[in-house]
Symmetry: C2
Subunit: 328 residues, 2 copies
């Protein structure tokens, strides 16, 4: 049995899509229990494995993260994180304010011993459809080389446990594939990763190869990772726009364009990471999954499923065992 | 009259495509003179405004940049850069080894007084087709905040002179649009740019908006810029692949796919910066244009044209006047 705490109030279309996703999840999985945190008046759900706990405050997308977590003690997000902290729940899922959820993870759930900086991980689409684990996408914008090394360790365990890859190929995102390439940060991180036997390091990878299935885990700092993530999102959208304009403007292709328009839209969506369920905050003493703010019920459901698998595969316990030795 | 020095031997398809591009350029522009550096036996060109100077060495794509520039004194690239240095030519164009060309720029052509680090600039495609000036894409991987500030000054002049934008909107690439967002580098660069009246600073821009025509100049460090450039290139290619596979695999769309296949290919190409003629090394005491290694004659021609406009609009003199005051 896995027990998850869920923020009913976070996200653009909450609580509606959250409730729909929770309802489907408890129907699909007999071994799942949910504690919902939010306004009980807005919760119509009635299921033996869903418990509702009433909260009186909400953290909005505009709230300053750290302040919100410290002041809004009866918010759905804070109470959800506390349920993980005190062991009532194995993990939690929220589509609310990303910064606030990271702060809740850091200050309420807490870091694992030995983890210097938690990292936010996503699975990016690849040409084969298999996907690639990519981190950090924004938890730690001023990373040092040993943070990147630790991201590699965490990403490696994530790929093994959540994606079922026995020996993941771990690569470092860099501005060239040669060993000596990079800025001072990646040169030093390359050195650290080359010397390890904690995971299989396959060297540098360039940003043009991210979706080409050349690695199972790609490691970078939170600034670069966030830039890549949003560039990918933007390129897919802009590409879709250009393609649509272009196809529709060409008279001879008008018919063809109408036929393929929906395909293009769907594929642009496929390249949009926000469709890929949740991102997970790794390195914490509990499972914290962030669903995209604009999640629909399907995306939130997939974030719940991700948290459930993370609970079953004991990802936190695995990370504790691997990084617990070396304290900061 | 503008006089350009050109590396006949650089690039995957040299000297063939270089000669073809030069021939067309001197035909199209009456006020253009060319000095070609390379193996005279391979040069069939005979034109009153094209002079050939024989060189005996070549710098390959595999050569270590600084060493190649220092040792291969009779290479086409070194001799070309020397022609700019000694004032024989207003600028130069090469499709050869990028690192070597940057080294030739730094050590032979030399920096402008007051420029701490030269920057490599490209024009990226945008949805409107107008394009956006983007720098640094790889000259300076370990940038400091004042380097980013200087990139903004150089990019601003480039947008005015080469793209004819009277008052370019200059934005800083960052991981959020809010003023306080970023890593320590971008936070400090934001502060410097906010306080200036040297250019119109419009604040932070996210990577998802690069192609959305929200800015005329986007400034970043050489590491991040290179990652974005290659990510853009990769996404366009991967997107094209996924789209093609997907469309062709769907039976009902087979006909439509055949019709639009070439359009898709062309648009993926449109998103590939390498098609956009040359990138320019800014901050040097002369015009240095890098054509992509895989340039065809058309792309090399457009790099020549770019160097010619840079000469006519006296971009180097403008930059000298703007940054000359403050030495490092």
């Amino acid at each position: 049995m896995v027990k998850l705490a869920i923020d009913m109030m976070g996200g653009d279309d909450a609580p509606h899509i959250v409730l729909e996703a929770v309802e489907k999840a408890v129907q699909d999985f007999d071994d799942l229990e949910i504690i919902l945190f939010g306004d009980e008046k807005q919760c119509h759900l009635n299921h033996p494995r869903v418990e509702i706990r009433h909260t009186t405050e909400e953290i909005s997308m505009e709230d300053e993260p750290v302040r919100a977590i410290k002041r809004k003690k009866d918010s759905s997000m804070v109470r959800m994180a506390e349920a993980v902290k005190n062991g009532e729940a194995d993990g939690c899922v929220s589509a609310g304010n990303t910064g606030a959820l990271m702060s809740a993870g850091l200050f309420i759930v807490g870091r694992l011993p030995g983890v210097a900086r938690p990292a936010l991980v996503v699975t990016l689409p690849t040409v084969s459809g298999k996907g690639v684990v990519f981190l950090d996408v924004g938890a730690n914008a001023d990373a040092k080389a040993d943070h990147l090394y630790q991201n590699a360790v965490l990403g490696h365990i994530y790929a093994q446990k959540l994606r079922g890859i026995a020996e993941p190929r771990v690569a470092l995102l860099n501005i060239g594939t040669e060993d000596k390439k990079g800025n001072s940060l990646t040169k030093e991180a390359f050195r650290l990763m080359s010397e390890t036997d904690q995971f299989k390091f396959t060297g540098n990878i360039e940003a043009k190869s991210i979706m080409e299935d050349e690695a199972d885990v790609i490691v970078t700092d939170g600034f670069t990772g966030n830039i890549v993530l949003k560039n990918l999102e933007g390129t897919a959208k802009s590409f879709g726009k250009i393609l649509k304009n272009d196809l529709l403007s060409s008279l001879k292709n008008k018919l063809a364009a109408l036929v393929v328009k929906n395909d293009i839209k769907r594929i642009a969506k496929q390249l949009d990471y926000s469709e890929y369920g949740g991102s997970v905050l790794l390195g914490l003493d509990g499972i914290v999954v962030k669903a995209h703010g604009s999640s629909n019920a399907k995306a939130f459901y997939s974030a719940i499923r991700q948290a459930k698998i993370a609970g079953e595969t004991k990802i936190v316990e695995n990370m504790r065992a691997k990084v617990g030795d070396s304290d900061e």
